[in-house]
Symmetry: C2
Subunit: 405 residues, 2 copies
């Protein structure tokens, strides 16, 4: 009576696995700057919670398996602001973006089939690939190139007879990279050439800086039937605890299959969908203020970190993460643990996510950490100083490694 | 670019597939009694919605992957009323009972392995078995025996080298059968003999009638490490739209694996968990009133239906469903469709769920329908009359079948 092999091999969350060391550090009296998690600190719009509180039906009944019609319509109206025209039948509400990933994986690929994904990538794709029993085939992107889409020959080498889809995430978690329209068109051509679905995780689409606009794969007419978008309100409206996401596709077979998957789990949460309807009706300037705030934070962190020698970091243009490559480090897992266990400056330390958990290639990302900028500017400045002090001290402890590097 | 085989073969919900005929019937001006769905009509406790409305944190943040500690503690306190002692580490909150089923299946069995389940069974087990790529092996139960647990020799015949678990549901959806302690002990012995997990869906545990008490598999010490309970607040607190369930086990490996699955989808919905905490603190007499109401309904329906010749129905003791076997009918799918399409009495008709969708054995249940009693008594009485009038008329149209039967 052992548990299943698939449950045994399932990865632990690389974002949360250092939690016991953080707890111990706090117990020793240390204060920790959390650069490891993507939990926005900006307030959830009050309209969201007001809409939830207005619910007055006598029974909190099952909703439709594809979500409340009012929410599907609100999402269509919201996308039309971006000149993307959708019908509610092309939008199915999910239990967070997480379930949208699971549905997308299950619908495009059978067991043992493959999905190509640029790495580093959002680590929870791994968990869903394991649940759906399919393989993520990584194509490497690099800090030196700002983690942009690899050249065609790299993509081509990843294709096999079992390849069913290309999975992109833009703006990217964990790199902050925003793919250009040209890159997306190149990805679309690749999908056409190899008869693949194009899955795009666009949950950070409002979070673009320096005046850049996010391009959605829904804007590419040549792959209209191939595109499946994973969406979520978690970051968009600072409502991570709501668990309201969506899967969006103009392919009827895909949506019919998603509906069957949706029927098996009955419906997404009703109250939080009502909150989402209200949030989607917010004015556009809601995002302008948020973008300004995150851009300022990005600037503060980028400027501080790149002022140091031995840090490789191209300016990220979106989301609220960056992958920081550190010369002279060859075990960022150890470095991140050391920061919590053995280091402090003025009673403070920082928690970062080792990047290895965001790679599928063994050994990749061992000189990188993911840093999230979801702290206000003053705290972020200090956190960057503490991080750099820790990095300098850790490097000094590793002379052998430095000469190897 | 076809969708996956697994998405193509996934079943449509047998409970919802007659919906287009119902819509058409309403458009013709007919009034329909819905005996097909398990959506309770009793009000959600106001305390649930009040607790949700009290939420005043600035950010609706990610919660813990295993659920809010307050809810896990409230569930432990609630079980202790039934003399079942649990630690919060033995309770993990899920997105409805549905996700608890998926987690249980994924943790006990690998791809192509088998779980034995008495049929008829809750139809959505099929969807999750397909998603987890494992096989449900049915053991037949019968209307004439009140759908009680089959004899040991039937259970034994279902065992193979790939069998990993026995799945029970008591009180049962769709049959309303409540397993006795002796039956559960026999099931436990079976699991011990073949080294199996014992998964029990106990979401209807408060819904028992005629003074009977529900026995939980958590009360069986000899299988303490084998037991995994699927739980949900949907029916318990008339809160189906909340999507708050739980998976409960004293097996640490099982719970550690469930936590990894839980981390992949981040967390269950926060607001509705807060509502659930309040609901779990309701006084016990909340359930006494509900039990009385459902028992009355069960009595009305049972008395009306069994007064007719040619209906095979043992008195169900729990939940709010019954499987009604009808002599002379050999295609209940057609009968259920005919009720919506071709029949009316006084401008009214009924919608029932053909039982075939609750069986895994091809051809089984074709003379049965599932009837849910979630209507108030006056409506239920009339619904039973309309149903019986329809049955009589449909039988009269099938002389060839009646002589065959």
């Amino acid at each position: 009576m052992r548990i299943s092999q698939r449950a045994r091999v399932m990865q632990e969350s690389p974002i949360r696995k250092l939690a016991p060391l953080a707890t111990a550090a706090r117990q020793r009296g240390l204060s920790i700057y959390h650069l490891n998690i993507g939990q926005p600190d900006l307030p959830t719009p009050p309209q969201f919670l007001e809409a939830v509180a207005r619910f007055a039906d006598p029974v909190l009944a099952y909703g439709p398996s594809d979500g409340l019609p009012a929410l599907r319509e609100a999402i269509c109206a919201y996308f039309s602001r971006y000149k993307i025209h959708l019908d509610p039948s092309q939008v199915l509400i999910t239990n967070g973006g997480s379930e949208a990933i699971l549905f997308a994986f299950s619908v495009v690929a059978d067991q043992q089939e493959e999905i190509i994904v640029p790495e580093p990538f959002y680590t929870n794709y791994n968990g869903y690939a394991q649940m759906a029993n399919l393989h993520l085939v990584p194509v490497r992107t690099h800090a030196e190139e700002g983690f942009h889409l690899p050249p065609n020959e790299v993509l081509e080498r990843a294709v096999s007879s079992r390849t069913k889809a290309l999975l992109l995430c833009s703006p990217n978690n964990p790199t902050g990279t925003v793919l250009t329209r040209e890159e997306l068109e190149r990805a679309a051509d690749f999908c056409l050439r190899h008869d693949l679905f194009l899955i795009a995780d666009e949950v950070y689409k409002e979070f673009t800086y320096d005046g850049r606009q996010h391009t959605s794969v829904l804007e590419l007419p040549e792959v209209e039937q191939r595109v499946i978008v994973v969406d979520s309100i978690s970051k968009r409206f600072s409502a991570c605890g709501a668990r309201v996401g969506a899967i969006i596709s103009r392919n009827r077979d895909v949506m019919a299959a998603c509906l069957k998957l949706g029927q098996a789990r009955l419906c997404p949460p009703t109250l939080e969908q009502l909150g989402a309807v209200a949030a989607y009706q917010l004015e556009e300037d809601y995002f302008a203020a948020i973008r300004r705030e995150y851009q300022r934070r990005r600037d503060v962190l980028y400027d501080k970190l790149t002022a140091e020698p031995g840090i490789i970091l191209r300016k990220p243009r979106g989301a609220f993460y960056m992958i920081v490559k550190m010369q002279g480090i060859n075990d960022a897992d150890d470095f991140a643990a050391w920061l919590l266990r053995d280091f402090a400056e003025g009673g403070e330390t920082v928690m970062v996510a080792p990047a290895s958990g965001f790679y599928a290639t063994p050994g990749a990302g061992r000189d990188e950490v993911r840093i999230a900028y979801v702290l206000e500017v003053a705290k972020l400045e200090r956190a960057a100083e503490v991080f750099l002090a820790g990095l300098a001290q850790y490097r000094a402890l590793q002379p052998a490694l430095t000469t190897e590097a």
